[in-house]
Symmetry: C2
Subunit: 441 residues, 2 copies
């Protein structure tokens, strides 16, 4: 009987040592679990060695192979077109396929030109963006740690960080009185809590559920606030950028890059973490391909150790992310038509967004709700003037056959991502009729 | 600021209440995290409701759709043959596709006829079998809980249960002096530790790394030992059956069913958990399709609550498992050639197993190693007589170009799953030559 937990694996100690030297903030903000994590030797590293050197026979692989190929069932592989089963069936490495990781880093740089040559880690592949969030929670959140979410929020954050990791979850206001990002609200939260020495902040632009994205000036404002927290208040900050809906920016005024560009090399006390993936950006929700990318000022020497710990966390949770899905995303990114196809889909969504803004600008809706500022993403939200949002949702569904989401007692989320442009006017007409009927009692 | 963790969500309390009434053992063996888990309402249940009732417009879905279909990129979907993108791209439910869950349950019953009408839960889909293990660890293992693994073991269990969940990890002997399963060893472990009141036991047949599977008599013996632990020693037992390599049984003497058949309705103090999946059985490692199935005597009224908690755990870890992979496994299972193709692959592996047993029976190998009893699975192990296994592995790789795995200072694992039958004689000749060279110094 040995209490595995009480002992620190020597590989973990080695990684901790590297982190301490290369990016002390990482050691300070790491959870107790994070400190214990390592990328196991044994089967994984021995197999990797064999892959390089076993020129005669490789009997390390826990997969079935025949004549140097994966032994797949035709009943499965017959559904793959122009995709070698050897690219789909074997296990991917725990941290993801090397080719995909390199390609995604290039994509991040291409989509975020102001990142320039800022050193960031190689993206680690996760099985979807939620898995990125839960991995980050495992590594950087201990019971009782303070986490601040926007007050307009995707509910699953609470399960991931609160229930599963025991974070104390607070919120900062998303909007100020003018419908912009509430810089003062964020600043006050950090001022108020910085004395605890470690804050985890989550940023989600485009926001789920409201579809708000920040302007360049607001991004600079957030940057300045975090910088002040790190310098004047000497607070360690884990800044998580949930970029799930990245790229779906409809307004001219909106920042077209990730907030991560402002934070990745901001200050040695700030660990910036970018979570993104193919799910929404590449219209591939069920494939489960996400990424974790780290950035910390002066800490590039820590990235490999961070990637190893992250890979170890993944190894101990799901072993590895789906290889077929990774192969598909990689192939798509290398497809000559990829950018044109994405642009086409974006145009469809952008037209819906424009249409919706046009419709909801009509004064007749003012009687029942107010739309939250919306400029990006899959969703928009309205705030019901008087009606209870959940009661409204239920009536709308049962009596009018229209499904929307109530995100609170006042707010209704509408996914424009799944309603065709031609149906939008009808949709809001029906929603209005239902609200008026309820109001009339 | 609210301490989410300190509050029990009402949905969790409701599930706990059901479990307490329907299967008290589940409440007793559940981890603190398990007690807090619930399947969130909000987006998930509202979307599910809308799927049923939103006949006019469904604006709940966090996916992009166009003309009632998933808005996939052709760069991705062109690689899918005879598979509707609507079956691949949308999110699957957190607990898995309903059609796949039902089909897999039928498979389990067909493969384990003695299960008969024993009520077991609907299988919950996981993203591979490791994810099944880590989900079970989240739900049933608290810091300091006693977990017993076989002393021949897949190293990742320690990361999953020990490092990530803080279990105290011990071991029971796999083999007795005659090369059968060590029933007495298991019995002694349970006797010695049953006073703590909760034991987690992990069974893995076919075993990784040695390729040992139990006989029907040994399965009955394990059943009797657990029953005694539950009755006479009044110990709650979580019995995890890791059936990753299920079905690859080569010896006539081997039990062709899962040990789960003996445990699923054994005693109200015993929660039996079957973990299995397509990874090895269906030659689909990188697809990441696994399952968790529960069985507890008299506890069928608890299954739905258990499935919900399990689904909630998955929701908070990875959201959901890859849908394309689930679709492929489901399609394969429904393919008229599925069983014939599996039988063909099995025959290939069975021939390799027979060949290897023939080769290693030659007395010339006795000088360097002894093979562990082997009758199933992907691997076999040899115990080096004198040589250090890791030194041997390194020399074998560097000087002979042959890759194997050292699983301890004495043991070498050889994957027959990835070496063609025609190469097996050569492989062991080279391994012998290397060992003899080292021995000669």
């Amino acid at each position: 009987m040995n209490r595995v937990n009480a002992e620190l694996n020597p590989l973990a100690a080695e990684l901790n040592q590297t982190l301490r030297q290369q990016a002390p903030v990482v050691t300070r903000v790491m959870s107790e679990l994070g400190k214990k994590l390592y990328y196991p030797k044994g089967i994984l590293t021995q197999s990797a060695e064999a892959k390089q050197k076993a020129t005669r026979f490789n009997a390390t692989i826990g997969e079935a192979r025949e004549l140097h190929h994966s032994m797949g069932l035709e009943a499965i592989t017959r559904h793959l077109c122009d995709l070698d089963p050897d690219q789909a069936l074997p296990y991917a490495p725990s941290a993801g396929r090397a080719d995909l990781r390199a390609a995604w880093l290039e994509e991040i740089k291409a989509k975020n030109p102001s990142l320039g040559d800022t050193p960031v880690s190689l993206p680690v592949v996760t099985s979807g963006i939620t898995h990125g969030l839960s991995t980050v929670a495992d590594m950087f959140v201990d019971e009782g740690d303070l986490l601040f979410l926007p007050d307009q929020v995707w509910g699953n954050y609470r399960l991931i960080f609160g229930v599963k990791r025991g974070a104390r979850v607070g919120s900062y206001p998303l909007y100020d009185a003018n419908g912009g990002f509430d810089l003062r609200g964020l600043s006050e939260i950090i001022h108020k809590h910085s004395r605890v020495g470690k804050l985890v902040l989550l940023f989600n632009f485009p926001n789920n559920p409201t579809g708000y994205s920040i302007t360049p000036a607001e991004a600079d404002g957030i940057r300045d606030i975090l910088l002040e927290g790190a310098t004047r208040q000497e607070c360690d900050i884990v800044a998580i950028c949930d970029d799930a809906y990245f790229g779906l920016f409809y307004g001219d005024e909106v920042l077209k890059e990730s907030l991560f560009t402002r934070l990745a090399a901001l200050h040695p006390r700030i660990l910036a973490i970018k979570l993104d993936g193919a799910s929404k950006e590449d219209y591939a929700w069920g494939l489960r391909v996400g990424f974790i990318t780290y950035g910390v000022a002066g800490g590039s020497g820590a990235y490999e150790a961070l990637e190893k710990k992250t890979g170890g966390c993944i190894r101990g949770t799901i072993s590895n992310s789906p290889n077929l899905s990774q192969a598909l995303v990689l192939r798509a990114m290398g497809d000559g038509d990829y950018r044109a196809q994405k642009a086409e889909k974006f145009a469809v969504l952008a037209r819906r967004a424009a249409k919706v803004r046009e419709i909801l600008a009509e004064p007749r809706f003012d009687e029942v709700w107010k739309m939250y500022p919306f400029n990006s993403g899959y969703f928009l939200c309205v705030r019901m003037n008087e009606l209870n949002a959940e009661e409204y949702r239920v009536k709308l569904l049962n009596d009018y056959g229209v499904g929307v989401i109530s995100t609170s007692s006042t707010d209704i989320r509408v996914a424009i991502s799944c309603v065709d442009e031609v149906d939008l006017a009808d949709l809001f007409d029906v929603m209005l009729a239902c609200a008026l009927e309820m109001k009339a009692g």
